[in-house]
Amino acid sequence: MDERKHTGSPLGTPHGARPDARTDIGTDLGIGDVLPQVRLTGVTKRFGNVLANDGISLSIMPGRIKALLGENGAGKSTLMAMLAGRFKPDEGRIEVAGKAVDFASPREAIAAGIGMVYQHFMLVENMTVAENVLLGQEGGFFLNPAEMRRVVGGLAERYGLPIDPGARVGDLSMGERQRVEILKLLHRESQVLIFDEPTAVLTPLEAEALFAALRAMSAQGKAIVFISHKLEEVLSVADEIAILRRGRIEGEFLASEVHSPAELARRMVGRDVVLEIDRDEVSAGRMVLDVKHLSGEGLEDVSLDLKRGEILAIVGVAGNGQQQLVEVVCGIAEPQAGEVSILGKSWADFFHSRGWKGELAWIPEDRAGLATGRGLSLTDNLLLTTREGFAHGQWLERGRASETTRGIVRDNDVRPGRIEAQAWQLSGGNLQKFVLGRELYREPRLIVAEQPTQGLDVSATEAVWQRLLESRRTAGVLLVTGDLSEALQLADRVAVMFRGRVMGLFPVTDTAQVERIGSLMAGLRD
């Protein structure tokens, strides 16, 4: 590698950059004379006033596996959608093998040799493996099933992807289906293979097999992009790692430069302050949530407590038990072992005689799917969780419900201000403000907020934070977030989760402990 080829990345020095040439790899330069298979320069994409990708520069090299690491909502999927031809960048350029391209459709991206394995497979379940792989590529009008099976079987063997080409896709496991998707790309001779969270649907054994296949493909000169938020697998499979946070590349380095998952976690969550917020003290009141030794469903001996007037942040890399904890607290899943008491009642008592007002409110991560009905008006969406408040037996007081909706829309500055608007017509930020207003209308004493500002712009984030802080006067807030800066700004205490365990629970004022959050997120207690 050539020292003199060093140039700064357009974003300035990458996070954790060292003055040796190795940091260059992938940021803006190829390795020596090798032409990058794909090169992005200053690629920017906005959705409304949300900056999904901000001046991204990246090189994807043949024969190398590049991991793109970032939390949900960091902009990974947007970036890859632009490479796959589904969106056009607002600014910046994309080059494939040295030539600038401007994809008008996914078809053009495929033709340029960029293939994508989505989380949701694009497979016809009622057809065989061979038919799926060769669909659109049959090479002649008449089909010869035996020949098709032979071609696909040969391809599978060459890349070490064991599969029965005659099997019906609907009968296959998720891991095998993924192999079919990979074979589709290999048959099209895609030079760049992009995997979007490929291990999300796999068993650990299948994931191992996938990694072996990735290495085999990269050894045969394919450029591979591996999108993930799982630290261990990124370290075990990637040659290069690029970290994406809030739409920007926050650092790029060789996997061999990273010494531990803890270091990677620190680099991934960062500590950048997006906005400062005034936070007045509220004195703690009665206990609203008390979890003791909760286990089962992926949780192991989780204990935590929450008082009125307090925000307790649960941080950790997604998929480490946060979801299961929320499901138990919100009554979706029954606690398997251990005790959960909510507002002074046992779990069973609480959910048996649950009222709509003055108790528990949940702001789920999936605001457009779980929190609201996309085709319902705002008034109907209000009634989803508050209908008991507007009911006389079988009759609903719609007039009063509309009046209340209008009040929520006004007080929370939800736009457009029409209460007849359907949920899908609102932007993410406005929908979230409405959901928050609705849940706070229930005057809850326990609030569970999951990723409440994910994908929101700065002003919506500020509004949501403000409401959560205000609600401490009457409630305790359990804040589940992947954004460490959010946790540190809002919370009184932080609990770090890893593999279903609480690795540490401490006040945010305990600086020594806060410094260790990265290690704790990676499962290291030392």
Binding site: P106, N126, L134, R168
Partner: protein, 310 residues
């Protein structure tokens, strides 16, 4: 019953089953592409009339047959337009197509009611027709019946042994996968609907050119609905469509014979027989489909329109 009578009954079953077979195959092609067409009844009625008129005016049965097929294609083109371009509901559009086709055929056909046409005559296949039992049942019919022997094989071959058929099935199972593979699922669906319309049209043409040889109102007589039901019975497979068509043809022929023989069962009850059988068959095939879920089920995206992107 004498052996001659039984042979005659089977031969009549083959004949009565042929139009149903064409219509069923047509609907299979359309549904395999993902478009449900409940307008088969209307397509049969209008194409029967088109075939009759053209044959009546030109004297050519083959031109009549072609006219029948084209009338079916044209009418289904309307269905394709409504469902694929304007994203109309497939069920509603299909029902409208039935009302429209039957109504138009009746309206246009009024001056011709009772008029006869030459159509297709019977041709005994040399040698084959002399085979005992099978000969008279299978090989002493008109040309269209023989065409009906080839059609299921041709449809099966199209669906399973050509790239066009593979794409067509993908468009009916998962249009997004077809699009991801660089195919145009809308075009494939349109082909399925139009080709299916042509086959249904041949079934309609059979009725006026080979079955009755004259024009009368209500010629379709519910055969379109039977075809729609038979698609489900056949699990969308051309081979099983043959069995279904023969079964229904047999019941139709049987109840006609029974009426002719002067039984004291009320004729309206006998006329009901094929349709009662439709209900029974549907119940049984639904139960069987549940048993062997998966492989035999309907195309996954059947009845679901492809939304334009963006």
């Amino acid at each position: 019953m004498s052996p001659e009578l039984i042979i005659a009954l089977f031969a009549a079953a083959v004949q009565a089953g042929t139009p149903i077979l064409f219509a069923t195959l047509g609907e299979i092609v359309s549904e395999k592409a993902g478009v449900m067409n409940l307008g088969v009844e209307g397509v049969i009625a209008l194409s029967a009339f088109a075939a009759f008129v053209v044959c009546h005016l030109t004297g050519s049965a083959w031109l009549g047959l072609l006219a029948g097929g084209l009338a079916g294609t044209l009418l289904c083109g309307l269905h394709s337009l409504v469902c694929q371009v304007f994203l109309g509901n497939q069920v509603v559009s299909g029902l409208a197509l039935t009302l429209f086709g039957v109504g138009l055929a009746t309206f246009l056909g009024t001056p011709y009611v009772g008029q006869a046409t030459e159509g297709f005559g019977k041709i005994a296949v040399p040698l084959l027709s002399d085979i005992p039992v099978l000969g008279p049942i299978l090989f002493r019919h008109d040309t269209l019946v023989y065409l009906g022997y080839i059609a299921p094989v041709a449809v099966w071959f199209l669906l399973n042994r050509t790239s066009l058929g593979l794409g067509l099935r993908a468009a009916g199972e998962m249009p997004a996968a077809a699009a991801a593979a660089g195919l145009n699922p809308q075009r494939l669906r349109a082909f399925g609907v139009l080709a299916g319309g042509f086959l249904c049209g041949l079934g309609g043409a059979y009725l006026s050119l080979a079955h009755t040889h004259l024009w009368t109102t209500g010629l379709s007589g519910g055969r379109g609905w039977v075809a729609v039901a038979l698609v489900i019975f056949a699990f969308w497979r051309p081979g099983r469509a043959v069995i279904g068509a023969l079964l229904f043809g047999g019941v139709m022929a049987f109840q006609l014979r029974l009426q002719a023989s002067g039984t004291n069962i009320p004729s309206s009850l006998l006329l009901m027989l094929p349709y009662a059988l439709t209900v029974i068959v549907l119940v049984f095939s639904a139960a069987r489909a549940r048993e062997r879920s998966g492989a035999s089920a309907a195309p996954a995206a059947l009845g679901v329109n492809i939304e334009p992107e963006g």
